[in-house]
Amino acid sequence: MVFSIVLGLGLGFPLAYALNSFFAYKYNDCGKHKGNFKHFAEKRIKYTSKKSELGIIFEESRDLGEDSNPWDGYRFH
């Protein structure tokens, strides 16, 4: 039983600390979200290209695999 009490308190207090910190952050910090990609670019999907994903028009999208030398034959544009 002593073992359970020690572990129960050892888990209960950190859990309470994490929960209270979360609520303090959630309710005391207002307008935490900065401007991000969504605000400036995502709406572009509607009027640019159907190929566009996430607001970015991909001109090349390739998986190079596990190539140990990914630079081989690769040219940046």
């Binding site: 039983m1 073992f3 359970s4 009490i5 572990l7 129960g8 308190l9 050892g10 888990l11 209960g12 207090f13 950190p14 859990l15 309470a16 600390y17 994490a18 929960l19 209270n20 910190s21 979360f22 609520f23 303090a24 952050y25 309710y27 005391n28 910090d29 207002c30 307008g31 935490k32 979200h33 900065k34 401007g35 991000n36 990609f37 605000h39 400036f40 670019a41 709406k43 572009r44 640019t48 994903e53 996430l54 607001g55 970015i56 028009i57 991909f58 001109e59 090349e60 999208s61 390739r62 998986d63 190079l64 695999g65 596990e66 190539d67 990914p70 630079w71 690769y74 940046f76 544009h77």
Partner: protein, 378 residues
């Protein structure tokens, strides 16, 4: 800024509800063209400002011909002296205030009431320092393109290491209406939180919108802000590019070559309400986006209340946990259970600390003297 009523000579201000200039005494409404004369308007390609210097704090105050200033906008002192006349670029666009002073106060008091670990006196605090300021912003339209090499881990272990796969992405994206605060007096990390502004509601600059509000001129030029804006755009673009890799985890950018073209950049005034209050001699300056009503800033947080509540909830949570652990001890060895719970507890403390650090960072900006100086005693 103050304009005089042609009927009674009292101050006329821009009415958010009526979207016109209104006299506070005789309640007459005016079209901006009837107040701002053709002659004055034609001079407004650049605006001539009288520059005043505060003999107390040294701040420069720009006041145009139709504006009357009786005190320093930064420290509130009436001791301002005429310095020189300067021509400054007129803002090209403006978003008029949509949220009224009363609405801004209500929005903030709602947030204060909702906040945790705050004194009761703060929850019902009187907001006597509320001012609407048109904050200068640079607004950019940027075409951004880049070639990126990404690497990510694959859940296959080869020679005791997770398999690394590589991905190539070449793409482009147009960023529209990227706003960046052009005032040195306002901390960028704080003003960044005011976005998004709905730039579709942006109109051509008309000086009548300023009537009844404060307005600042930019003091951070376009070249200086360009570097920060491009970093912001790059960060946003790269975080989205990473999301395009679905088949791996721990995706990181190995190398990227980027190019950009600034399609347009213009100077605009965007509406912000600044609301100040004091608690325990600490001044809190919170902001409300004057268009969308987004409240920005951290509400006062009393550490002793937090500790008290954490202790009480800790006891309350621990009691059922003790019984739960007592039940599951038969299924685990004591050593394994001890290790498992210790690791879990360390993780929880780490998460809690992270949330509190974020809150303290926000509190730092809310109580920053620079922000207070920007907004108070106008």
């Amino acid at each position: 800024m103050i304009c005089k009523c042609p009927n009674c000579g009292d101050a006329i201000t821009y009415s958010i509800e009526d979207k016109s200039l209104k006299c506070s005494s005789c309640k007459s409404s005016f079209d901006s063209n009837s107040i701002i004369t053709e002659a004055l308007w034609s001079q407004l390609e650049t605006m001539d400002f009288n520059i005043y210097k505060c003999s107390t704090c040294g701040a420069e105050i720009t006041v145009n011909d139709v504006e009357a200033a009786t005190f320093c906008g930064f420290c509130g002192q009436p001791t301002i002296i005429f310095d020189r006349v300067s021509s400054m670029a007129k803002p090209q666009k403006i978003i008029p205030f949509k949220v009224t002073k009363e609405e801004a106060e209500k929005l903030l008091s709602r947030r204060l009431k909702k906040s945790f670990y705050t004194k009761k006196s703060v929850k019902n605090i009187e907001l006597d320092k509320v001012c609407g300021i048109y904050v200068p912003f640079w607004v950019y339209d940027i075409d951004y393109s880049s070639s990126v090499l990404l690497s990510g881990k694959f859940p296959i272990i080869i020679e005791k290491k997770l398999l690394t796969r590589y991905f190539r992405r070449r793409g482009k994206c147009s960023f529209k209406n990227v706003t960046f605060d052009a005032s040195k007096e306002l901390e960028n990390h704080y003003s960044e939180r005011l976005v998004p502004f709905n730039c579709k509601e942006m109109v051509d600059f008309d000086i009548s919108y300023l009537s009844g509000f404060y307005a600042d001129c930019y003091d951070e030029d376009q070249d200086t802000s360009e570097y920060s804006v491009l970093n912001m755009v790059k960060e946003a673009y790269n975080s989205k590019i990473k999301q395009s890799v679905h088949t791996a985890f721990q995706v990181k950018i190995e190398y990227d070559v980027a190019s950009y073209k600034i399609k347009s950049a213009y100077y605009a005034l965007l509406p912000v309400w600044f609301l100040s209050f004091s608690d325990d001699d600490i001044n809190y300056t919170m902001m409300v986006n004057g268009q969308t009503g987004k409240v920005v800033g951290a509400t006062p947080f009393v550490k002793s209340n937090f500790n008290k509540f954490t202790f009480l909830s800790g006891v309350a949570i621990s009691i059922p946990l003790i019984f739960l652990i007592n039940l599951i001890t038969d299924y685990f060895t004591k050593f394994n259970l001890f290790i498992l719970i210790t690791l879990f507890s360390i993780g929880l403390i780490f998460i809690g600390k992270k949330f509190l650090n974020k809150l303290h960072e926000s509190l730092y900006y809310t109580t920053l003297h620079k922000t207070k100086r920007f907004a108070n005693n106008r």
